[in-house]
Symmetry: none
Subunit: 207 residues, 4 copies
């Protein structure tokens, strides 16, 4: 009984070691330019070894890709706009979401890089990306719908479009974090601005 557990555990350890170096190489060179040989040699292992743990190159990539999607989605579905009783609380929910997202970013900058850069490298990756995007859209739609019910969102706003635009801003904020530093790519500043735009728009209020 103990034995298979150890074996399975060791297998998992090795899988994760492969994922770790694969992520590094994918982030450095991109999906297409990365060869199994690159991953194997950085792992200081034979390239046959990798095929003991993953079906093929795509399998490795999708594993990395989907685990990131899962983390993002967990944060997104974890927001609780339903608990917000006031306008300020509603904004605070959004704020918390941005903070949580940022934390994943800080931890997972390489995975975020491949998340954005390799969307179209393979039809399977694209499918995975699109499935995740659709689900993200659902979470944002939920956020807005609850907000409207509670009177925190202007009722005349078209929710699906708004959700899509907000997601575009959120993901671009993440993407900014993967870029070499510049004034415009400060992730926190972008998040603050995003919330400000959401709350008040860009134009002064007419009296």
């Amino acid at each position: 009984m103990a034995r298979p557990e150890v074996s399975a555990e060791q297998k998992q350890v090795k899988r994760e070691a492969i994922l770790k170096v694969a992520l590094e190489v994918f982030a450095e060179k991109g999906y297409h330019a990365t060869g199994i040989a690159d991953i194997a040699s950085r792992l200081e292992a034979g390239h046959g070894t990798i095929y003991r743990y993953f079906k093929n190159k795509l399998d490795i990539f999708l594993t990395l890709y989907e685990s990131l999607n899962a983390e993002f989605l967990a944060v997104a579905w974890g927001t609780r706009p339903d608990l917000a009783e006031t306008r300020e609380e509603y904004i605070a929910v959004m704020h918390k979401f941005c903070i949580d997202f940022s934390q994943i970013f800080l931890r997972e900058i390489n995975r975020i890089r491949i998340f954005f850069e390799e969307v179209y490298a393979d039809p399977e990756i694209r499918k995975s990306f699109e499935a995740a995007q659709a689900e993200f859209l659902d979470t944002t739609i939920r956020f807005l719908t609850i907000g409207r019910e509670k009177g925190f969102v202007r009722p005349e706003l078209h929710i699906p479009s708004t959700a899509r635009l907000m997601n575009a801003m959120v993901f671009d904020t993440m993407r900014a974090g993967t870029e070499p530093e510049s004034a415009s790519s400060n992730i926190l500043l972008l998040a603050t601005t995003l919330i400000d735009l959401f709350a008040r728009g860009a134009m002064p209020q007419l009296k």
Copy 2:
């Protein structure tokens, strides 16, 4: 003297013929999956011929890519927020920009597709994309800066961040137009919502 001119002109005609079919194939299959042979055979020409007009596959792609960027940038630099005298005119400038952008889209859906999907297919493409994005950012910064000077933009807004977020929304609106139709991917609806968010935010105004 006449001869070389004709020759150069003919050369240009052929170049454009190649670009035309290359665009089709790139849009259908993507950069990596497209072979020179695919382009040549659809052109009904030998593949050696293509190398007389372009250095290599990347050269063809970048030519297409950069001409699209140039068109987009021409529209962006052509906006005249400086001529807006009223809040409504300022919004109208933005509206016109969206309309003009949409028109490029309607005409150039294939180029827009490759614009979005092949950003990271090659480091050169990426560089080109990033250069264009930086310039787009400049046009939006100009738009916002002029708006602020004229009192149409809230002075406390951080302009570079706002510009980046607006661009994210604009490009995502374009991208939506390349996707199979769905409620959320209506390009005009997205543009209208974008302007609405810009003008008023998503939340009701406090009295």
Copy 3:
């Protein structure tokens, strides 16, 4: 003293277990398409284990192959044309040989399949096949030589050639038994016809 015996016995039991499943897999997939992993997994053992009992894949195959040859040869050497006193008894010897061969077939269809199909899969197998064929030829030559001495075989017949042709018919009859059923592949009918051709030829006798 007892111990090594038991060990050797156990070793033999395991060897036979390996041969049993190996035969199944070889028959199903063929020599080249069969991997050590296929055999090991059907055996529910590690693939390293197999190398404790056999030198390599070829060793397993040849063991199976040669044991079948040995069985066939035992039957062939077991014919007793020397005991035949009459033409009818001589034919009966041949008949018995066909029946005995068929029984091996009924029992060992899988080994017969690999016997025919994998002759050239490896030079070693080929060598084994050819050695067996040469020995089969000897048995048939013996059968015919004795027959001639006893006046049951036409003296003008070239015995080595006749032996070879008869063997060709015998093995093709066996091979027919491994094929999906059809009118022409009825093993008993073929054997009967073979004997009939041997005894009387295909043409009517001239008066």
Copy 4:
């Protein structure tokens, strides 16, 4: 008009050059042990070149294989037992068939070698072999049926079985020709014996 013809002709010349060396290598090393690289290097060409003329390794092999089948079948269908008016003429038809077959053999010993040795190297080859065998059987059945109608074949003989056994002898005679010389592998002697067995059987006629 002249141009494409020349081009197609050159293409054919090259195809045949490839087939020529491929046949040599296949005959020497066998299908599985032959690599595209082996063929290419003997051709003194890059291995990519081969893929301009053939889809893959199997394509080359099947081309060789099927052209041999076609030659054999042409000979088989070219026999004219229907023209035989006497027993001797009927035997002469068979004799001619053997001679013609032998001539292909003398010309095509390498193709005959692969014909026999690589039957099961790939399912496609096997399919091709079996289709050819079935057609050969038809030609022999035709030969025997016409013989029976004309009174040259004993009416009680089971024709499909007889046809199958005769084919086994014919092909084994061919196979003998591919083997290192021995008393039993004299192709003409085998053919003569085959006809003798066909005509008179192996046993003395009862008075």
